[in-house]
């Protein structure tokens, strides 16, 4: 069966395929020749397993994520649910900014950020650490049944893990803040809305996580950077 390549990323290829009659997305990870073979196998397996586990945990907690239909550890392939009409949050933000006035854009992006922040809060309340929060890893899927006209779906759980430590949650938020700063430097207000919504949903450790987040931000040599 000839498979259609949808996207080629840094770590793998995405194909459109089929599993037991259901059309699905196939995510294949490459062997990285620059890595020691043992390390490469370890990383690939670890990330595939992380992806399967986290997606399961999210769905169990009522958080939208692609369902994993089948995992082929030896072939480095994951078969998962495909959202054909979705776009990434990165595209959505850029399009919104391009086609509406500043005020309108700000309002609709605020709504988006509120729901992104709420979902991250719920993930953390369930001790799911995404590990690679960027706007490329968040999908906006049109849905006429829901109240907000779209669903927000998190993808790419390869770097995720399960941990209740405030350190990991703080770093997760920090990674997102940095990604927003480098990708959407013209919309500096995004992160504060995400954080406000996050605080409402992230559970009992709210203050501890926020304190840790501030600590990670300011951490030692990060800002000093001795040459």
């Amino acid at each position: 069966m000839a498979l259609e390549i949808l996207k080629q990323g840094a770590e793998g290829r995405l194909y459109l395929g089929e599993f037991k009659g259901e059309s699905c997305l196939i995510k294949e990870r490459f062997v990285k020749k620059y890595r020691h073979p043992e390390l490469d196998t370890q990383i690939t397996r670890q990330r595939m397993k992380a992806e399967v586990k986290a997606a399961g945990r999210c769905l169990a907690a009522g958080i939208l994520a692609p369902r994993i239909l089948h995992s082929d550890l030896t072939g480095h392939k994951l078969y998962m649910e495909y959202f054909g009409s979705a776009q990434t949050a990165k595209q959505y933000i850029q399009e919104t900014v391009a086609k509406s006035t500043d005020e309108q854009a700000k309002q609709s992006l605020e709504e988006l950020c509120t729901s992104i922040g709420g979902i991250i809060g719920r993930m953390h309340a369930n001790n799911i650490i995404h590990g690679d929060l960027t706007t490329s890893n968040i999908l906006i899927n049109p849905n006429s049944n829901s109240s907000s006209s779209y669903d927000v779906i998190f993808i790419d759980f390869g770097l995720s893990h399960y941990n209740q430590a405030t350190e990991d949650k703080g770093v997760d938020l920090y990674v997102l803040e940095r990604a927003l700063l480098s990708t959407h430097s013209e919309q500096p207000y995004l992160f504060e809305h995400i954080l406000a919504a996050y605080r409402k949903e992230c559970g009992k450790d709210e203050d501890a996580v926020l304190a840790k987040f501030e600590e990670v931000r300011a951490r030692g040599r990060k800002r000093t950077m001795i040459g």
Partner: protein, 347 residues
């Protein structure tokens, strides 16, 4: 035509370089080398620099066959770095500027590395991996700034290597990283170490603690749990060096590749002291070949801190019209790469 003299002294290297219109005229350097097992401390490093710098300035002028009146601008490293050694360079630069009546410019150390790398390799708009004893950053240029896409969230990669070299008492001559690289070539066994990538960022402190325990079994482990019948380790120091390099370099190559995919770029430039490690260059080259990209790397003359890179970046700033009043000629330990407005690039 700009003829610039640059003074660099942000860490344990003190260097003076002279560049004339992109042509290298002189590049001299002295390194403060500490005994095995010891790092360099600010006060002693500054003393070393004070004793070396005047001879280096004279040597550079002699090598370039220039008189002070032939220079257009005096440049020095403004930061980031250790304050006492930085001050040595700044004070000498200020004095020379007043004495020879030449304009003075303070240069960001990281920008110096990037511009030097671009000049030597001819890379136009690469993703830059800047790896040294104090910095670990993945940088891409956009809209008049060098923006930081990924970086270390704790210690720098070179710091991790240096401190490991101290633990196993490797020589600091010519540099701890070089000696780790040589010893790693004899490594046979790959030992599993933590592999820590967080989004586009990396972390090295946990790896250092882990390998510290492997290198000195008993010293730390006994504090946590008593295991009398634990077997003697069946790995050598060479194995540890080899495994450490394989692990941390794979992390660096991975975040560089992510930045390439993110920015849709096909060029990579490696700068900074760790950048002259040939295993890192080899791994990066393999990654680039797999993506049909191109690697630009430079050797230790330009990779390791040097005065020439400060002269070159200063010359670029000078030709773009940047001026600095004397009262701004201070040094700063904190000076982010993305704070500098890159007014000399037109793209």
């Amino acid at each position: 035509m700009v003829c610039a003299l640059g003074i660099e002294g942000s860490a344990n290297k003190i260097g003076v370089g002279i560049i004339n219109d992109g042509k290298v005229l002189a590049n001299v350097r002295r390194t403060y080398i500490t005994p095995p097992g010891e790092g360099f401390l600010p006060k002693e490093t500054a003393k070393h620099h004070r004793e070396a710098i005047l001879a280096l300035v004279q040597a550079s002028l002699k090598e370039a066959q220039l008189k002070p009146s032939d220079l257009d601008v005096i440049c020095y490293t403004k930061g980031p770095g250790m304050a006492p050694p930085l001050l040595v360079g700044a004070i000498v630069a200020r004095t020379l500027s007043l004495l020879w009546k030449k304009p003075l410019l303070g240069v960001n150390h990281c920008i110096g590395h990037i511009e030097m790398g671009r000049l030597i390799t001819g890379a136009q708009n690469p993703i830059v991996l800047y790896v040294s004893g104090g910095n670990t950053q993945v940088i891409a240029y956009s809209n008049k700034r060098y923006r930081i896409f990924g970086e270390t969230i704790d210690i720098a990669v070179g710091n991790c290597l240096d401190r490991f070299a101290r633990i196993i008492k490797l020589s600091n001559d010519p540099s701890p990283g070089y000696n780790i690289e040589q010893l790693a070539k004899q490594g046979q066994h790959y030992i599993k170490l933590p592999y820590v990538v967080k989004g586009m960022d990396v972390s090295f402190s946990g790896i250092l603690s882990h390998i510290e325990e492997l290198a000195e079994p008993g010293k730390r482990r006994n504090k946590r749990k008593k295991q009398q019948d634990e077997p003697e380790p069946d790995y050598s120091q060479a194995d540890l060096c080899y495994s450490l390099q394989e692990t941390i370099f794979a992390m660096l190559v991975e975040i560089t590749e992510r930045a390439m995919a993110h920015c849709e770029s096909n060029e990579v430039l490696i700068v900074g002291g760790v950048g002259c490690n040939e295993r890192l260059q080899e791994m990066m080259r393999i990654m680039c070949e797999e993506r049909n990209g191109k690697l630009f790397a430079i050797d230790e003359r330009y990779c390791i801190d040097n005065g020439l890179m400060i002269a070159h970046a200063g010359a670029e700033m000078f030709s773009a019209g940047t001026q600095m009043p004397l009262e701004d000629a201070f040094v700063t330990q904190r000076y982010r790469t993305d704070e500098v407005l890159v007014n000399w690039r037109q793209d």
